[in-house]
């Protein structure tokens, strides 16, 4: 809501732009008059007058339209944190809990606020943690799993209807797909506490089997403070 209000305010703040836009117009108005004063003046001057009001309005109108569209689009993105509630459970379904390695964070799937969303709860502060950019409007996220301090979050989502395993990094606030070219149905991913390995169920051998994915030695490991790497 706040974002939307901001967008409206921006749209209202726009009118100063016509002033700026008017100044080049003034010059343009002057130029034709100067050249028109030498031959016969009147008919072209009228045509200039017809031309100017259209120009004067169209520029700021286009700007305000564009900006208000942008603000509308940004305001339509999901708000991750349930407003006004610090309660872990609601009157709707909460399922698929996943604890971080240190036991502080709890990721789960909830149906509150009228949509299926993945939420992250801080058990120490007893409030929700913002995970912006994870819940997207055109798909759902399922089966969360957390690393030791809750930095990495793996979950199942769909990419054009195909199930894929995504990894969300809370440090960069971005998701990446771990199985972009994997040919097979995947399910139930689980990330190791240090964040290097991800195990998941796969159908690639004709039945449910377990696959282990190695993210490599060059990733930033999620290890507790003071622990040897």
């Amino acid at each position: 809501m706040l974002r939307f209000l901001d967008g409206v305010l921006q749209a209202h703040r726009l009118p100063p732009t016509p002033v700026r836009a008017a100044s080049p117009l003034g010059r343009r108005k002057v130029e034709p008059r100067l050249c028109l004063s030498q031959p016969r003046g009147l008919p072209p001057l009228v045509s200039v007058k017809k031309f100017t009001p259209r120009f004067l309005l169209s520029r700021p109108l286009l700007w305000s339209l564009g900006l208000s569209l942008v603000s509308l689009l940004t305001s339509c993105s999901y708000d991750d944190i349930p407003i006004g509630s610090t309660s872990l459970n609601s009157r709707y379904t909460e399922e698929q809990p996943a604890l971080s390695g240190n036991g502080r964070f709890l990721a789960f799937v909830s149906n509150r606020n009228g949509n299926h969303q993945l939420l992250l709860y801080d058990l120490e502060q007893q409030q929700f943690v913002r995970i912006s950019g994870l819940n997207r409007p055109e798909t759902i996220a399922e089966n969360p799993s957390l690393s030791y301090t809750g930095r990495y979050l793996t979950y199942i989502t769909t990419d054009q209807g195909r199930p894929v395993i995504d990894l969300y990094d809370r440090a960069t606030q971005q998701s990446q797909t771990l199985t972009p070219i994997y040919r097979g149905w995947v399910r139930n991913p689980s990330i190791s506490p240090d964040g290097r390995y991800v195990v998941f169920e796969t159908t690639i051998h004709g039945q449910w089997d377990i696959e282990v994915l190695d993210r490599g030695p060059n990733i930033e490991l999620d290890i507790p403070n003071g622990a040897p790497p």
Binding site: L88, N89, R91, Q96, G101, L106, L123
Partner: protein, 174 residues
Amino acid sequence: MKSSIFLPIFVITGLLSGCAGYPRILSYPFDPGGQSLNSLGSELNPQISGRYIVFTSDRRGSQDVYMFDMVTSSLVDLPGLNSLDTIASHPAVSENGRYIVFVANRQGRSAIFFYDRETRQSRNLTSNLQAEVRNPTISADGSRVAFESSVNGQWDILVYNRSGQPLNVPQDPR
């Protein structure tokens, strides 16, 4: 003009090095005899913590919990965890491989069991919870257990500590 040559070069080298790199799928030997990670039976609900992967498999004719050690590439014995009259599902293990939580379905009732590999004992964490339970998870340090319960007529999440005491988490007034 010359700098435009470098862009495709960088792209190509990046692509080439990316092909040999990570993330990649590790291959563990497939064993029809059932001594490895995958077998002729189905393997379900894997969960990784440290060097251990716990999962359920029906490779011996009943659905049981297994634990695989990634370092030694072999199964770890879990004496006293699986029993004949019980379906065990959704296991989760702590990072040191000592504690395993799982759902056991016995005599029509489901319960969250907490298994200690050192004492070889399973303890029922939800014996005084008159409700269906499912999907348990344990933190890597073994301090907390979370699971779903139907005690309020819908699936809600409960968080317990290791000894089975509910954590004080704010709940909506009902």
